[in-house]
């Protein structure tokens, strides 16, 4: 199979950078648990729409960068992103044909897993969440997903990213 020619692919790391910035954007402490996990959402999106062109190494590096920014254990977010990317690669043929609300449900599970892994690493450090509150970002991410999908589709098709 001949690989499709790359076009405007620099947009992908650019969106990841935006994801990083939203991860550290200052929020009021009351809202902190509702911050959507934008970087994993972007990873899900790009893996779903371009499963064969995506660079796993790049995702891994952005995960590490997020760890450094957040002062987390090195590798925590990389591991979460790897699991998400792997699950998306296994299931993209089904998931990307679902309706948006149906996709949101899958996104909730993916981000929930990501948060679960993060919480596990926190528990190794002795600072795990005491309740299921760590799943709130999964909820807000799932609610954000339809909007994000529409915006990113417009960006991808408009810029003919391939």
């Amino acid at each position: 199979m001949v690989a499709a020619e790359a076009h405007n692919r620099f947009i992908i790391p650019l969106t990841y950078c935006v994801g990083l910035l939203t991860a550290i954007y200052p929020l009021a402490p009351e809202l902190a648990w509702w911050r959507p996990a934008l970087l994993p959402l972007l990873v899900i999106y790009w893996v779903l729409v371009m499963p064969e062109q995506i660079s796993i190494l790049m995702i891994w590096c952005f995960g590490c960068l997020l760890d450094i920014l957040l002062g987390a254990s090195l590798g925590q977010h990389s591991l979460g992103l790897m699991v998400i990317a792997y699950l998306c690669l296994l299931s993209y043929q089904r998931v990307r044909n679902y309706r948006l609300w149906h996709q949101s449900f899958f996104v909730f599970i993916f981000i929930g897993l990501y948060q679960l892994i993060g919480n596990w690493v926190h528990s190794l450090n002795g600072s795990a969440a005491r309740s299921l509150v760590f799943l709130l970002p999964a909820l807000s991410s799932a609610l954000l997903w339809p909007l994000l999908w529409v915006l990113l589709e417009r960006l991808r098709i408009g810029q003919r990213v391939s």
Binding site: L21, Y25, P26, L57, L74, G75, S78, L79, S127, A129
Partner: protein, 268 residues
Amino acid sequence: MSFAVVALVLILLSVFTDLLAPVRARLGNVSAPLYWLVDLPRTVLEWGQEGIRSRSSLVEENASMRAQLLIHERKLQQMAVLAAENVRLRELLNSTAMVTDRVLVAELIGVSPDPLVHRVIINKGASDGVYVGQPLLDAAGLMGQVVEVSRYSSQVLLITDSTHALPVQVNRNGVRTVVEGIGDFHRLNIRHLSNTVDIRVGDLLVSSGLGQLFPVGYPVAEVIEVERDPGEPFARVTARPQAQLNRSRHVLLVFSGEIPVEDSAGGN
């Protein structure tokens, strides 16, 4: 899949060993500019508000600051006498002189976005002589200790983080104990304090300096709740931090008179 394994190995390395600490310190340099970038909208807004304030509000602020200065100066007058008296009494007791601490003013440039981790990032780093384990204060009390130093910024673990504990004593009677963070900005816990210990609501807890990390005598917290249940082995004591942990922007780094204790990264 192999990337996931690498990530897992990295996690285990960074949780259970200190091997990755130098790598982190090096890579930490990238975080300061990014935090600066996301903080930019607020800085611009604040700058705009500062720039277009009315004359009357400035005059008012100036007057209130003068009044405050006067009050503080009056206190300082007494302070000189008290300090001299303190020195004389200490000489009588043959104890060592108090070391005055040198401080460096720093500004907060970021707060850890992860609600489980109470860390802040300040705009002073190794180039200003900041070291791991250095205490951080604000105007009202002790805030935390430096845990990671990069060239121009450093990360500070706050006393309310659930992995932090520090030795304190009750100011009223000198009872020594340890306060622990529980991951709540407004509460600290004291564990393992027996039911019969003399501690009351309203007691001020000051740092005792026993961990050799924090200097002696800085206010840490005020006791707000004491619950003595005869069925429990220990009293349940809750305190509220004196420092404004989620509000202070201008903070003080304290350089103790002595040489910093090496290898104190894990010491609380």
